[in-house]
Amino acid sequence: MRRSSAPAFLLTLLAICVALAAWSQRARGQGSVALPDSIALGVLRPAQTAFAKVGAWCSDVGRVMLRRGDISQENAALRAQIAALENRSERLLRYQRENQELRQMLKMPQPPNGRLLAAEVVSRDATEYARRVVINAGAPQGVRAKDVVFNAQGVIGQVIEVDRKYGTSTVLLLTDRMAGVGAMVRRTAARGLVQGNGQSVCQMTYLDLHADVREGDLVVTSGDSKIFPKGLVLGRVRKVIKDKTYSQTSAEIEPAARLDQLSAVWVRVQAGP
């Protein structure tokens, strides 16, 4: 069989690239997934899920083997902690009920609650440029774009794409360059915007020049946007940078959640608009 010439071969491949990219972009614009992309995801997802499970199992077994002695002590400490937290939880439930009653008395609107859905991370960044993970909860479980994702340590990010067919969702991590959350320093209520920059830490910008921000301060969501509710932990201030030229302060924020070691997360679904 006669082989095509080099330029013709490369041009054909380039045309395939353009066609696939355009198809994908067009489908995304319509809020769906292009057929070739859907096929690729269908081929990838089952193996990713299996590999992630095997990896988690091996990691657990390795941890148990290495830390046999510590685990019993840690177990006892955790049991004590659970007992203390249960007491605290009871108290908080009492306060919540009281709060609801007071709101009803004042005829204030109820905050959007939603429900929590546990999910596992099935795949992480496929590239060095994006900071995203894929979780095994999607449209069938009621997950929608912009749902907030977090774990026990703090906010992880938000859902940006829901795959209707395979029951998975893509989560944009706090550290991704496209991520941004309205935030405030819990100690002083100084407000700013926490943005990702593709690194392991985030930047808190648009702080006032004279804002009282110190290293170690806890940063939480400000609740200014409709996506993230107020008071969720984002991280701690690692470094404060004063820029007198632009009369503003910025800070490096270390995310509270270990974004490079995610395995299980919570999704706050059906939390209203």
């Binding site: 082989r3 080099a6 071969f9 490369l10 491949l13 380039l14 395939i16 690239c17 353009v18 696939l20 990219a21 994908s24 972009q25 070739p36 992309d37 690729a40 995801l41 081929v43 990838l44 193996a47 990713q48 590999f51 992630a52 990896g55 099935v122 795949s123 992480r124 960044d125 496929a126 590239t127 060095e128 440029y129 994006a130 995203r132 940006i160 794409e161 893509t170 360059r177 920059n197 593709g198 690194q199 392991s200 490079d260 070691q261």
Partner: protein, 170 residues
């Protein structure tokens, strides 16, 4: 078919077990699909390299849900260029594999940066770490990829050793 299975396996391993960067190398991490593309291109020529590069870029872009076109073109170019090197340099040259792995990694990042400058954030320590990791992994995996995906090439190499007059160029 074996090559595409290898690429598929590389991508699944990349997105699950090798997704975390090494903190002591500035967050650099191994790019296993790229290593497979370069290694296969060196063994199979530029046409195979370009096709495999396109497939790797497509899978990476779809899995990352991010800059599909830039990934496809950058990986395709790396595959084609790496494959073309087997005509310029002697395949017996021990420096060919590390040279192509390091060069291919730089070229992939360069192409991506040129096509998507707004999304390209790659500090020098991380870039250098990625080059080093890909080069080391490439050198280690190249013979295994040759054995697994190009068994006929291995046989031809064996015949060539016995009969030097037979061209080993396929």
């Amino acid at each position: 078919m074996r090559l595409f299975f290898l690429l598929y396996l590389a991508l699944v391993v990349q997105t699950t077990w090798l997704a975390n960067g090494l903190a002591w190398l500035g967050g650099a991490r191994l790019d296993l699909p790229l290593v497979v593309v370069i290694s296969s291109a060196l063994l199979g020529g530029w046409r195979l390299g370009a096709m495999l590069g396109l497939a790797a870029g497509w899978f990476c872009g779809v899995a990352a849900d991010y800059n599909l076109g830039s990934f496809m073109v950058s990986r395709m170019v790396v595959g084609a260029v790496s494959g073309a090197f087997d005509r310029r340099l002697s395949p017996d040259n021990p420096l060919l594999t590390p040279f192509c792995m390091a060069g291919g990694t730089v070229l992939a990042h360069l192409m991506f940066g040129l096509m998507s400058p707004a999304d390209f954030a790659q500090p020098w320590p991380r870039l250098l770490g990625a080059i080093g990791l890909n080069t080391l992994a490439g050198c280690a995996l190249h013979p295994l990829i040759a054995r697994f995906a190009f068994p006929s090439l291995q046989q031809d190499m064996g015949q060539f050793v016995q009969a030097p007059h037979v061209s080993r160029r396929i």
